[in-house]
Amino acid sequence: MARKLLIEHADVQGIASYDVYRKHGGYASVEKALKTMSPDEVVEEVKKSGLRGRGGAGFPTGMKWSFLAKPEGVERHLVCNADESEPGTFKDRYLMEKLPHLLIEGMITSSYALGARRSYIYIRGEFMYVLRILEKAIAEAYANGMLGKNILGSGYDLDLVVTPGGGAYICGEETALLESLEGKRGNPRMKPPFPAVKGLWGNPTVVNNVESIAAVVPIVNEGGDAYAKIGIERSTGTKLISASGNLVRPGVYEIELGLSVEEFIYGDDYCRGIANGKKLKACIPGGSSVPILPHYLVTKTAAGTDRLMTYESLADGGFASGSMLGSGGFIVFDEDQCIVRNTWNFARFYAHESCGQCSPCREGTGWMEKVLYRLEHGTGTLEDISLLEEINKKIEGNTICPLGDAAAWPVAAAIRHFRDEFEWHVKSPQEAQSRNYGLIQAPLEA
């Protein structure tokens, strides 16, 4: 069984309480950092670890931290992005619900590294029961001297607050999150200035995903070099994967990066194969915003090598034959699933969640949803398929935030790999209403 750095103790009785968490080695990173390390030394360990942002973008966390502006006399903030709302992703909820103190410990150690004295956890409003768990854990941390004034006699003060969103996917985008945290609509900001220079209330701010902040705990405890030894190439450490769809055993798994996709889907320690004895049709490996892969590109790359659970291997082949690790939202489709229906479903999601600020996204996502609805419901034309490709190109790269790209890419990938199925919906609309298309054949050259 692979090493678990984050959720090893998730099922220990009472681990959500301070005392039990402490007994299992909890808050060691706070003691180590505040008593024996300078803030810059903590940043250095995170850089050495090679940790990449676990929210989806995969940007190196240590580098993001080193961009933080530190003007004299200006307050800085660490904000935890717990707005988990990328379809297919539910790992942060699991981590916070089971191990609230792990996130709080990570927040303290990370805030110390950044010199933040007022930090925030912004959690999606639907997770209100998780917010209550975090509130209780934060109160325990205050009562035990891990938060508040002069933590562990180090002279370092930190206040930590958890606060809810109100139901808006866009608030997972870091500048929209900051707008929301200021009590406004979640409209993403123009960058620059980046949050590292002007973030919350105009102060320098780092926004990190829940899992990234939790990963700082083992990195500080064991050292950045030890963390970097796990994994392959620039995919270091462990990653939480949210597995959903037609699997025997969906759920949250902590994997060492570098595990083969084959093992993850079919292995006894992981998802144990496709549910109900069916065949794999397709997989979206990194949350709904990343390209879908047809079955013959899931466990092998186009070049025929084993596909691995790493940033590099999942992206192998670029958009022509690859995808992305993204947030680790691993969505699996069995042979009975309709790609057109699912593509329409996700297009409806993005149309619903577009904040409306940029015309290409506001209008484009709505049009894609309408066109895909036609195709799915038997009134589409072949021109509609090319129309989708055209709308796609007009959205991509033309918006303030990545939601536009996130809406465009999945549609483009679905058409790229499943064009026959889209055309079948046009040519045999009645048949398409009564049965599913089934599996596609791999192109001969693949």
Binding site: E126, M128, G166, G186, S244, F333
Partner: protein, 175 residues
């Protein structure tokens, strides 16, 4: 009257219970002096917890409490989809309809609840007991199909589980 109605601002502010006011003061106090607007989403959740929905009168009162303009409350309340801007039933069933849940049967779940309650998505039962809504991804993809009601997640739903859930909600809402 909706928040986008020209006369919305004239709707008289309504008062909240003492318990709600106490909790509002607490969440406002979590933010630094002068940044009380940051508590607006927490405050609107508290409003909805008390009233079941967010009326213009309630928003006008929230504006006074946070010391901001009413429009600042309307624009927020109308942006975030968790806030119900119309009266709803005692139990609002919010069924996730997004991709991963669809793969494991959310379409059938929605149809089943529609038939069972004899209402369509967006409607409320005649006795005011249930409102059925569909929502986008609730972050429970591995445990679908699912729905949320009063911040509680009902997961891996089957017809049997839905029947039990509805009965339990009816029972709990009687008292």
């Amino acid at each position: 009257m909706k928040a986008d109605h020209p006369q919305a601002v004239n709707e008289a502010p309504i008062d909240f219970s003492a318990a709600t006011m106490t909790e509002m003061k607490r969440v406002i106090g979590l933010f630094p002096e002068g940044k009380q607007k940051s508590a607006i989403l927490s405050v609107l959740h508290l409003v909805q917890d008390e009233l079941g929905w967010v009326s213009v009168g309630a928003m006008n009162r929230v504006a006074q409490i946070l010391d901001i303009e009413p429009i600042e409350v309307y624009e927020v309340a109308t942006f975030y989809t968790m806030f119900h801007l119309d009266p709803v039933g005692k139990n609002v069933l919010e069924v996730c309809r997004t991709g991963p849940c669809q793969l494991v049967g959310s379409d059938d779940l929605i149809t089943y609840i529609e038939q069972k309650l004899d209402i369509k998505v967006g409607e409320t039962t005649k006795d005011g007991m249930f409102t059925l809504k569909t929502v986008e991804c609730l972050g429970a993809c591995g445990y679908g199909p699912m729905l949320m009601c009063k911040y509680h997640f009902y997961e891996r739903l089957t017809k049997e589980k839905v029947n039990e859930m509805l009965d339990a909600m009816r029972e709990a809402s009687k008292s």
